[in-house]
């Protein structure tokens, strides 16, 4: 070969490589294969459903530890409000932030901007749009609860939008929009939906819940100056709850076992057929969906039930526990005698058996805890599959009935017949006598009257009893904190939760068999190696008692001289109305000077 032909060969062989590769014109076009491009989406009902199901957000079994922010429990946890109340200096946006995150609204609004593209019937589109607006209402309700006034956005924003720097819209306007969303949702969301997702009745329930919150909030919070507008919201509650009641689809779960039926709602492996459950969050370990929180619910994790809650439960005959002389000096075993059966289905009681043990559980005491142990949410089993697979009732019919009763009582239109078809159904399940409106109104509970001094009018007595019913029925279901906020009684949270009462050193029965189980000794005394045994030959469990902060194992109010167990001594201060709200983060005000800080926050 001569030089020239060699060059030609080189060029040809080089060109060959180029030909097989370079000629792919789309070589530099690469597309993902594991995510969806929006341009080709939102066409079918499946698309709408895929997106809406992605928005699903429901409370789960962690709800059972949610009451630690209320007066139902003492807590050792970093709860924002407790922190604010015990802080030595005034909290600011630097030390007490709210949740100013807007990603969820963007997800919702993005759907509302695109769902119309789907080539499906109008009622199908509106069903999904209704669900999106239901989620938007829930989102904004959460924002209003924190900040009262917030900017309202009904579309997704882009970086160049001037609306990014909008100021807050007034609460009235935001709530009107929330109500418009819910109105649309209740009219368009279908009744029959996939199990574990919200249908029309869940939407109606949410409408009632938000309206009841807003109605009572406006009625009792004078800082808003909106008490005149409260009535509209109670009307909405009455209408929405009546609509659910009228479906006749739901009932209070009862098999005629007053000591078990209530508890069954919280420890069932399958609630899908339970007619009390309006929205279900199902768990099944075999389907990769499990939640086991025995260690958090029970024992000395963070929260422990307060004595105040236990005293709220009525006696089994319907009389008031707090009317009994020296009720505040009762020992643990006595406290649980002849009470509303829901008490023993909510808290650990003296004869309780913990699986897989063969003998009664002896309550463990610990400093900073109340000594009481929570049962609701605890799964009494040592089998992990069972513990993980307990279903959670996100919304149950009981909530509808109590909202109905409360709204009608606040409207002043409640009748005994109304009570009999609502709150009294809950009492009948557990074998409690009915709540009588005339009796309640004639003789309002002085204890509750002191707790809720802002309730006025002829229905005071029955409103107190409905509030008691709420507190009892939904204990440890995370509704108490919101209730305290909307009733404008945040001051109740200034009371430091107290625990079990012990008159002093000595031996105590904790299992109700009359035989001592524990021995309280004064601080400083050492536990003998050879422990005292009870009449059954079981060694006693020893605790030293003393004043708070000392070296004792259990803190009592009067140290070695007894008293209730002390969970905390830091003085709590609930500043009204400021602590009902949360500050807008300081950085957001720098980024958008049109945002104004709310209710005296700095």
């Amino acid at each position: 070969m001569n030089v020239k032909s060699k060059i030609i060969l080189g060029i040809i062989s080089g060109g060959f490589i180029l030909t097989i590769t370079a000629c792919q014109k789309d070589f530099l076009d690469r597309f993902p294969q594991t995510s969806i491009t929006p341009e080709v989406f939102f066409n079918t009902e499946e698309d709408l459903s895929l997106y809406i199901n992605g928005m699903l957000s429901m409370n789960d079994r962690w709800t059972y530890v949610g009451d630690q922010s209320s007066d139902n429990a003492a807590t050792t946890a970093a709860i924002t409000l407790k922190t604010m109340m015990t802080s030595k200096t005034e909290p600011t946006s630097e030390t007490a932030g709210g949740d100013w995150s807007w990603g969820r609204l963007r997800t919702i609004n993005y759907f509302l901007e695109n769902y119309q593209r789907a080539n499906v019937a109008a009622d199908v589109k509106n069903h999904y749009a209704g669900l999106a607006r239901y989620y938007r209402a829930i989102f904004y309700h959460g924002m209003v609860k924190q900040y009262s006034d917030v900017p309202w956005y009904s579309k997704t924003l882009t970086p160049s939008d001037e609306a990014l720097r909008d100021g807050q819209s007034p609460r009235t306007l935001v709530v009107d929009s929330i109500m418009a969303d819910l109105d649309f949702a209740t009219k368009n969301v279908k009744e029959q939906v996939a199990l574990g997702t919200p249908g029309r009745d869940a939407v109606l329930l949410m409408q009632a819940k938000i309206a009841l919150h807003e109605g009572t909030y406006r009625l009792y919070h004078s800082e808003l100056n909106l008490d005149k507008t409260a009535k509209n919201y109670f009307d909405i509650v009455e209408k929405a709850t009546s609509q659910i009641i009228a479906t006749n689809k739901y009932s209070i779960y009862s098999t005629g076992k007053p000591n078990e039926d209530y508890a069954a709602l919280f420890e069932s492996q399958d609630l899908s057929q339970n007619k009390e459950v309006i929205l279900l969050n199902a768990f099944d370990q075999n389907k990769n969906r499990g939640q086991a929180l025995n260690g958090y619910v029970f024992g000395d994790y963070e929260q422990s039930p307060s004595r105040d809650l236990i005293q709220t439960y009525l006696m089994k005959d319907g009389s008031r526990y707090t009317d009994i002389p020296n009720y505040d000096k009762k020992l643990y075993v006595q406290e649980f005698e002849n009470r509303d059966p829901r008490l023993m289905q909510t808290l650990v009681y003296p004869q309780w058996l913990r699986q897989p043990d063969k003998s009664n559980y002896v309550q463990k005491l610990n400093k900073n805890f109340s000594g009481y142990h929570q049962l609701k949410g605890y799964v009494n089993s040592s089998d992990q599959i069972i513990m993980n697979g307990v279903d959670f009732p996100v919304h149950r019919y009981a909530e509808v009935l109590l909202m109905y009763a409360e709204a009608k009582a606040e409207l002043g239109t409640l009748t005994q017949a109304d009570l009999d078809k609502s709150a009294n159904l809950l009492r009948r399940r557990v074998g409690m006598p009915d709540l009588k409106m005339d009796v309640a109104n004639a003789n309002p509970d002085p204890k509750l009257a002191a707790d809720y001094p802002n309730v006025k009018g002829a229905f005071r007595g029955v409103i107190f009893e409905i509030r008691r019913e709420r507190r009892v029925e939904f204990a440890f279901e995370n509704s108490r904190y919101d209730d305290l906020m909307r009733w404008n009684v945040g001051k109740l949270l200034e009371r430091i939760p107290e625990g079990m009462y012990f008159p002093g050193v000595g031996n105590y029965d904790m299992t109700g068999d009359g035989v001592a189980d524990i021995k309280l000794i004064p601080d400083g005394q050492t536990i003998p190696t050879d422990r005292e045994k009870n009449s059954l030959g079981v060694p006693l469990v020893y605790y030293s008692i003393g004043n708070f902060g000392g070296n004792a194992g259990v803190y009592l109010k009067n140290g070695v001289n007894g008293g209730t167990m002390v969970t905390d001594v830091n003085v709590r201060r609930f500043v009204e109305p400021m602590y009902y709200y949360r500050p807008v983060p300081a950085k957001q005000i720098i980024l958008n000077p049109n945002l104004k800080q709310v209710f005296g926050w700095k």
Partner: protein, 819 residues
């Protein structure tokens, strides 16, 4: 890894104290606990497990364990062997060369109680032929197979264990503690196996024409890797009490994954070089393209039919399936022109035109030119007289730009991710869309980032280049840096995507000094070379949209690594001091009490309040207190050879760097009271001494450590949990001068000794070379922070947490055999 405090009395007492000083006082040990802790502290030979006196159906524990020692080997041993055949011949007067080698490596992992290792088997074959005088063909094939076996549980979980836990019950079951569960998971709870099979082939052809002036080269290389993994978890048993043994770990599962990686690169270029008298011209044009495709499938199925048969085909439960896919492609055209006059003056210009699949069509291509020149002073005639001493002197200058495509493969394409719903919908988890797609990308601000570097340098060789110095000084301007966009009000509900959002300028220099020599030592040649490379750079933002100059993101003039923090001012010693300075704005969670022994800071803006500014224009009490960037990076390399022995040493380090610790490996209970207490924490502030009555309760070790005595001159503040909680970012989680650490280090990365047997000895076996060697990795470091964290791990994590897999020293032995 630092060794924690293991004394059960000291640990219990201090952990309780740390929460007693907070509103969240939940660590509360009983009198009986302390009594037992004291007994075991005074006499460690006592049993560490007993029946719980409060609950006779359960075990109670009082360990004094250092879990690092229980779970981890101090160092890892590995071995490595290499066998090589190589040679050549002439075929038809043209050269033919071959090379064939095999290798085997096994590295043992850290776990003491579970199988944990990695192996590699590989072989490589290479042939080089010249079918014609003008054509060289070279083919290089390598095959390798790696295998990794490890327990299903993660070893880093040992960071969460406390010393008072125990791993085993007296009846031999695993204990009802986190340590017992971790041990059970590691030893009985399942395994994970990973196998990689790799194939790599590079074919290369070079044609030489015009008497060597023109070279045309083409190469094609293909790399394929198949990765297969198999993992399973199964039930294990935990002993709660003497007759209460429970199964945990659910129903078990098996997962399998298959991954396929395909990477292909083609290059084609022609190089023309011509020398005419003193003029040398060169020109080059070329083309390059690369393609990368990665795809994977993963399947997991629950519920083993039998715990002894952990195979996918023998599972009956819920099945989940996942797929992964990623791909990119690039194409480039490039060219170069260069001219050298009289071996003294060199001029060169290059240009590249690059296209990437990572950018949208409209902004896919970028052009990156550069020019450079050099003057070889030592070749000048006037330098002749200096040549014996200064053998080489070269001055260089260049200005050039390159493109960076530092973004995700498909980031410009707006997509919505999907995943399995967490919830059961109609009884099953279902695939759902995760939410709105990110913001759309503006192609005008989404293209190659341009990195232009102006460089001046010089090379100096002394004494026949035995001693060689290279120096470079550069300014690098990055325009259109691909980074997260400006910070916008939170109501946007999403972040501004990565785009060409910033301009950056980096100034730096690099100095390298090499010394190599060879001389006779005991009649055998001794040769060595030593090289030190020292470099430094600093980078500043020159343009970024942040009108408010928020500290949470870049702003004009921001220097990378800048640490804004508070000036430490000791600890509060009295109520008056506390009253005189309002530190409420930096109280963690807004809740801890400021008491004597609390850290005190300087009130820079003099308003009586310690506050952190949010913007650079209003820093309040913040100041620049350091810089976490690596400064003065150094590498040192030494190689020696003598009479068959060889030795090499490699050191690497960073000579200046600030590190502010923000993790509980440093802060222990000051961070959160969930795990260990470390010896340095014992020097915490104690307001008062204990009374005689209290002392009587303490163990001797507690008294000996001085923990019952007041400590006003303490290195650490009052023992208060969450005081340094990084999750809240206040208190001591705010960088401050008092606890700033010196992050510089110099580490002995590798040291190797080898011995090659004399050739004569091996000749009859036809062995060309037989070398045995021993090497150690990461054997030692000069570092102030090594007692807390691994100095090389401190840039891990966004919060500078230094969180890393337990650090290990490695020893290996090996063999090279060449035929």
């Amino acid at each position: 890894m630092p060794d924690p405090v293991t004394d059960p009395y000291i640990f219990s007492k201090l952990l309780e104290l740390s929460t007693n000083n907070t509103p969240w006082d939940y660590v509360n040990y009983s009198d009986e606990h302390y009594q037992w802790a004291k007994e075991r502290s005074d006499n460690p030979s006592l049993e560490d497990v007993r029946i719980d006196p409060k609950d006779p159906k359960r075990w109670a524990y009082m360990g004094n364990n250092n879990w690092n020692q229980y779970f981890l080997n101090n160092s890892a041993h590995s071995q490595s062997y290499n066998l090589t055949f190589s040679g050549g011949a002439k075929v038809n007067e043209l050269p033919f060369k071959y090379y064939l080698s095999g290798d085997y490596t096994k590295e043992n992992g850290l776990s003491k109680i579970a199988t944990d290792y990695w192996t590699r088997k590989g072989m490589r074959g290479r042939i080089n032929i010249a079918p014609f005088q003008w054509l060289q063909l070279d083919n290089n094939t390598s095959l390798y197979n790696t295998h990794r076996e490890s327990p299903a549980a993660s070893l880093t979980d040992i960071y969460y264990l406390t010393p008072i836990q125990v791993a085993k019950n007296p009846d031999g079951t695993w204990a009802n503690t986190d340590a017992g569960r971790l041990a059970a998971r590691l030893s009985d709870g399942g395994k994970s196996n990973g196998d990689t099979f790799g194939f790599q082939n590079t074919f290369n052809a070079v044609g030489t024409f015009l008497n060597g002036d023109l070279k045309v080269a083409a190469d094609a290389s293909v790399k394929r890797e198949y990765y297969k993994s198999n993992g399973y978890a199964k039930k294990f048993k935990i002993g709660f009490g003497p007759n209460d043994i429970r199964e945990e770990g659910g129903t078990g599962y098996v997962n399998e994954s298959r991954t396929d990686l395909n990477n292909t690169v083609f290059n084609l270029y022609a190089n023309y070089n011509k020398t005419i008298g003193k003029h040398n011209f060169g020109a080059m044009v070329g083309y390059n393209q690369e393609e990368y495709i990665y795809s994977s499938t993963y399947v997991n199925r629950n519920n083993l039919i039998s715990s002894t048969l952990p195979y996918l085909g023998l599972t009956t439960g819920e099945m989940t399936l996942n797929a992964g896919y990623s791909s990119y492609a690039t194409r480039s055209y490039f060219g170069r022109l260069n001219y050298t006059f009289n071996e003294r003056y060199i001029l060169e210009g290059t240009g590249r035109y690059d296209g990437s699949s990572r950018f949208p069509k409209a902004s896919r291509w970028g052009f990156f030119p550069s020019v450079s020149g050099a003057w070889i002073v030592s070749n000048e005639s006037f330098f002749e007289s200096l040549k014996p001493k200064i053998s080489n002197l070269k001055l260089r200058a260049s200005y050039g730009s390159l493109g960076n495509q530092n973004v995700g493969d498909f980031s410009y394409i707006q997509t919505m991710g999907t995943s399995l719903s967490g919830y059961l919908i109609n009884g099953n988890q279902q695939y759902v869309v995760n939410g709105a797609p990110p913001l759309t990308i503006d192609p005008n601000s989404y293209t190659w980032e341009n990195v232009s570097t102006l460089n001046f340098g010089a090379d100096l060789g002394l004494f026949n280049d035995k001693f060689f110095v290279g120096y470079d000084n550069y300014i690098r301007n990055t325009t259109g840096m691909l980074t997260a966009g400006q910070e916008l009000p939170g109501v946007l509900g999403t972040s501004v995507p990565r785009q060409n959002a910033a301009d950056l300028r980096t100034k730096g220099w690099e100095l390298s000094v090499t010394y190599k020599d060879q001389f006779e030592l005991a009649n055998k040649p001794f040769s060595f070379d030593a090289k030190v490379v020292l470099s430094d750079s600093r980078a500043k933002i020159r343009k970024f949209k942040n009108d408010e100059r928020l500290l949470s993101t870049y702003f004009n003039g921001y220097e990378f690594g800048t640490i804004y923090g508070l000036q430490g001012d000791g600890l509060f010693k009295s109520a008056d001091e506390i009253k005189a300075l309002d530190e409420s704005g930096i109280v963690p969670w807004g809740a801890l009490n400021i008491v004597n022994g609390w850290p005190k800071f300087k009130d820079i803006d003099g308003n009586g309040k310690i506050e952190r500014g949010l913007t650079e224009t209003n820093l309040k009490d913040l100041q620049v207190i350091g810089n976490s960037a690596d400064r003065y990076r150094i590498g040192f390399n030494l190689n020696m050879n003598w009479g068959g022995f060889d030795a090499s040493v490699f050191l690497q380090g960073v000579l200046k760097r600030d590190f502010y610790p923000r993790h509980y490996l440093f802060w222990g209970p000051y961070q959160q009271p969930y795990a260990n207490i470390y010896p340095w924490h014992l020097d915490f502030y104690r307001e008062t001494s204990d009374t005689a009555e209290e002392r009587a309760k303490h163990s001797q070790a507690y008294l000996n450590a001085g923990l019952a005595d007041a400590n006003h001159d303490a290195a650490y503040p009052v023992l208060q949990s969450w005081l340094a909680d990084v999750n809240d970012g206040k208190g001591l989680a705010i960088p401050n001068t008092q606890y700033m650490l010196n992050g510089s280090y110099l580490r002995l990365k590798n040291i190797t000794f080898g011995y090659t047997l004399p050739h004569e000895l091996l000749e009859k076996w036809k062995i060309q070379r037989l070398r045995i060697f021993f090497s150690g990795e990461n054997l030692f470091e000069f570092s102030q922070i090594k007692k807390y964290v691994d100095p090389e791990a401190i840039n891990n994590g966004t919060d500078g947490s230094a969180w890393a897999y337990p650090f290990q020293r490695k020893f290996s032995v090996g063999l090279n055999l060449d035929f």
